[in-house]
Symmetry: C2
DNA sequence: ACTGGTAGATAGTAGCACTAAGTACCGGAG
DNA sequence: CTCCGGTACTTAGTGCTACTATCTACCAGT
């Protein structure tokens, strides 16, 4: 059975990660941990890595590889100008959706 | 380039349609028209029909076929008890997501 | 030597919205 | 009478996204 949250995250998870990166640069493992701390306990690690590669290919983030004291080198992602534009667009779309859903929920379907 | 809204609708469009049906029974064409009137101008007709068939197969709605004065017979969908449960669950999930996104947006990522 | 925590990559799967094309029915314009 | 436009529904195929599962790699402590 498909999970409701799984489907709802499609499209929004990307914005969530970009928003996190807009605060400060971060690497994958850190982002996953931050998400979990933030209540999104069920998001798989692999999902985040795949997403990061995707937004990197789209040129929304810059990457800086630096050695870690523990384990393999980290890939530190930071939001660039294009990413910021995309993030703004994301929030505009989200606001539209959230507004209309609220409206629909409160009987305002007429 | 993938549309932001398209991806964001995944998972939520289903809830939107169920919410519309919770007010009163409706048929596909009508639902499409209502969505368009509600600001969702870019939702394709085919999408709604596919979605309706899906939720019918899952047993979330009951179907009543009745002749139309214009064109082929309408398939009138109405929300049943299982659908209502699912809708409640949908709103709970949505609220969680909306809350956490708001929190994240207002610098509350720490 | 082994376990556990840190860090990332990837092949395969399922679900969803979209595109595009079609069927079917009817009324009115030409 | 034929054609067009509006109503109403169907369906095959596509692309994108999150998930599962598994793998590599590095290091510290026992």
């Amino acid at each position: 059975m498909a999970n409701l949250m799984t489907e709802m995250l499609k499209g929004t998870l990307e914005g969530i990660v970009l928003q996190i990166l807009s605060g400060q640069p971060a690497y994958g493992y850190e982002i996953t941990a931050r998400l979990r701390a933030n209540g999104f306990t069920d998001i798989a690690e692999g999902t985040i890595y795949a997403l990061l590669i995707r937004i990197e290919k789209r040129g929304l983030v810059d990457v800086d590889k630096r050695p870690s004291e523990k384990g393999p080198p980290r890939k530190v992602y930071s939001l660039n100008a294009l990413g910021q534009d995309y993030l703004n667009e994301f929030w505009r779309t989200w606001s539209f959706l959230a507004e209309h859903l609220d409206q629909l929920r409160n009987g305002g379907s007429r």
